[in-house]
């Protein structure tokens, strides 16, 4: 039986992770996501799991690295400045091809920034953060329900491809309370023959490692990894389309920005403006194909973001700059109102960019 509960976004992540079979959480306090750690601290000891507050974000991501290498479903969560610290570990995890789930409940930056919601870690999440040629699957929840369902999906994707999945949320959804439903499903179990379990003197030793001193070997490894990434790009892009059938203006927004944008689109439709919304659910892989196809139908795009304009670059790339793309944004913890988005739609309708 599916269960319907009223939950805070951050807690929904934690509960969903446990239901996905994640019994290992390592973290470090940072606003606005600390409820995740608090929830885990309360629950884990009662279900035979592990909650450990590390001495730093750096230590916590490396505990995740160890646990992931040991073959466990494992996660950590943090917010923007903390993710910067975890980036070294994310690169090692990618270079060692072990699966993990990392949650970023974004706040404003750069530097210590602020503690209000933001989407300004889009670049960091989708284009690196850490060093080297690597990718993470990046999921962008837009509701408390998705905080839960994308957490579960995130673990499956991580295990399936041996990559890190980042849940790129923001402070608004993290703090928001909404009713959500948990499906009664057993977690999927993936074989992990590479895991560090001890050889029992019955098999050659497993080595989890990202060091390849011979450049031809490192190149080969990177090529192999990018074949895997190509598979992910082919199979795993997720998005939502809203009123796009006859749309002449396409608003693109993810996470909390998409909810505001959706309201604005609905308002504009009442005024008879043919506008629709494409909401990327996966930020990497970016839903390039759907945007590319939209570019052949609509006159212009509006990227609505809680940043100085980061996703807009991917919108331009996906649409191959066939149509103008304007930016409707607030930053630093400020959130655009539906009226601001509506006014951007009005401008686009008049052909002003």
């Amino acid at each position: 039986m599916a269960e319907r509960i009223l939950m805070k976004g951050n807690e929904a992540i934690a509960e969903a992770a446990i239901r996905a079979g994640c019994l290992h959480y390592f973290g470090y306090p940072i606003t606005p996501q600390t409820e995740i750690a608090a929830y885990m601290a309360k629950k884990m000891p009662k279900i035979g799991g592990v909650f450990l507050q590390a001495e730093s974000e750096i230590a916590s991501i490396n505990m995740v690295y160890g646990a992931a290498a040991a073959g466990m479903r494992v996660m950590t969560s943090s917010s923007s400045p903390g993710i910067s610290l975890k980036s070294e570990g994310l690169s090692y995890i990618a270079g060692s091809d072990v699966p993990a789930l990392v949650v970023n409940v974004q706040r404003g930056g750069p530097g210590l920034g602020g503690i209000q919601p933001s989407q300004s870690d889009y670049f960091q999440a989708t284009k690196g953060g850490g060093h080297g040629d690597y990718r993470m699957i990046v999921l962008a929840p837009a509701s408390v329900q998705e905080m839960a369902s994308l957490t579960i999906k995130g673990f499956d994707l991580a295990d399936k491809y041996c990559v890190t999945t980042m849940l790129l949320a923001d402070g608004t959804i993290g703090q928001m309370m909404e009713p959500i439903t948990f499906e009664d499903a057993e977690p999927t179990v993936y074989e992990k023959p590479w895991a560090l379990t001890g050889t029992e003197c019955k098999r050659p030793h497993n080595i989890v490692n990202s060091l390849y001193l011979k450049p031809d070997e490192l190149e080969k490894k990177n090529f192999e990894r990018f074949e895997k990434y190509a598979e992910i790009e082919k199979n795993e892009a997720m998005w939502e389309e809203y009123m796009m059938d006859d749309a002449e203006i396409c608003v693109v927004a993810f996470g909390i920005a998409s909810r505001i944008a959706k309201n604005a689109v609905a308002e504009a439709r009442k005024e008879g403006i043919k506008v629709g919304l494409i909401r990327p659910i996966t930020l990497w892989p970016f839903p390039t194909e759907v945007l590319k196809a939209a570019a052949d139908k609509v006159k212009s795009f509006i990227s609505v973001e809680l940043s100085m304009g980061q996703m807009i670059e991917d919108v331009k790339l996906a649409t191959e700059c066939k149509r103008p793309v304007s930016l409707c944004n607030r930053t630093g913890g400020m959130i655009p109102t539906p009226e601001e988005v509506l006014s951007a739609i009005h401008k686009a309708e008049k052909g002003e960019f």
Binding site: L52, G66, G198, E200, H205, L211
Partner: protein, 252 residues
Amino acid sequence: MAIVFEKPKSLTDAPFHYCPGCPHGIIHRLVAEAMDELGIEGKAIGVAPVGCAVMAYDYFSCDMIEAPHGRAPAVATGIKRCRPDNIVFTYQGDGDLASIGMAETVHSAARNENITVIFVNNAIYGMTGGQMAPTSLPGQVTQTSPYGRDVNHCGWPIKVSEMLATLEGPEYITRVAVNNVKNVKNAKKAIKKAFQNQIEGKGFSFVEVVSACPTNWGMTPKQALEWVESDMLPYYPIGVYKDRSEKEDAAK
């Protein structure tokens, strides 16, 4: 005829890449001998550092992972907390453990994490070519202290064992050396005890091994071992700095 000395089974056949006379090979062997004697090779999971021993994963025949620089105790914590029945150890140098990884070292000790830490202190960064380490001696000439380590400029070398022994957390903190046969034999006993402690669930067991770096010290292997005796050991005295169980037993 019976074999009285051979390469331990917990080492693979891969030849060590270390420089001629580098005691890393001796210390690897001691760790492997301890694993053989305790019968834990099949349960062991080792964590290699960044530094000269970065490729330790090729040398130990147990499961291995290579950690980011200084993070081995955190990686080991992650493994041990998930697999408490496995035997988890780190093998780290002085730059890794006492400089960039000091926080991970101190906090895993404070948590009395049930792991074994082998800390090889040779007072220099070897892999990068001989720079000043947190344990380089006052006056020691290195690539980045070409006029000798000036303690007024860059501070004093850190006595890690003494420092960790001040913590309530850890079970066993000891310093040994591998500069002569007697010290090597004692080092072996300490390493074995550090694993035995983990098997018995006693907690964080730390063996600082005072070692040498003939190449970057600019000495022959023989001179380097003599320098350990004459210069290193007076600053880093051999001894047991903390042994909680022994203290408790003695109190009974």
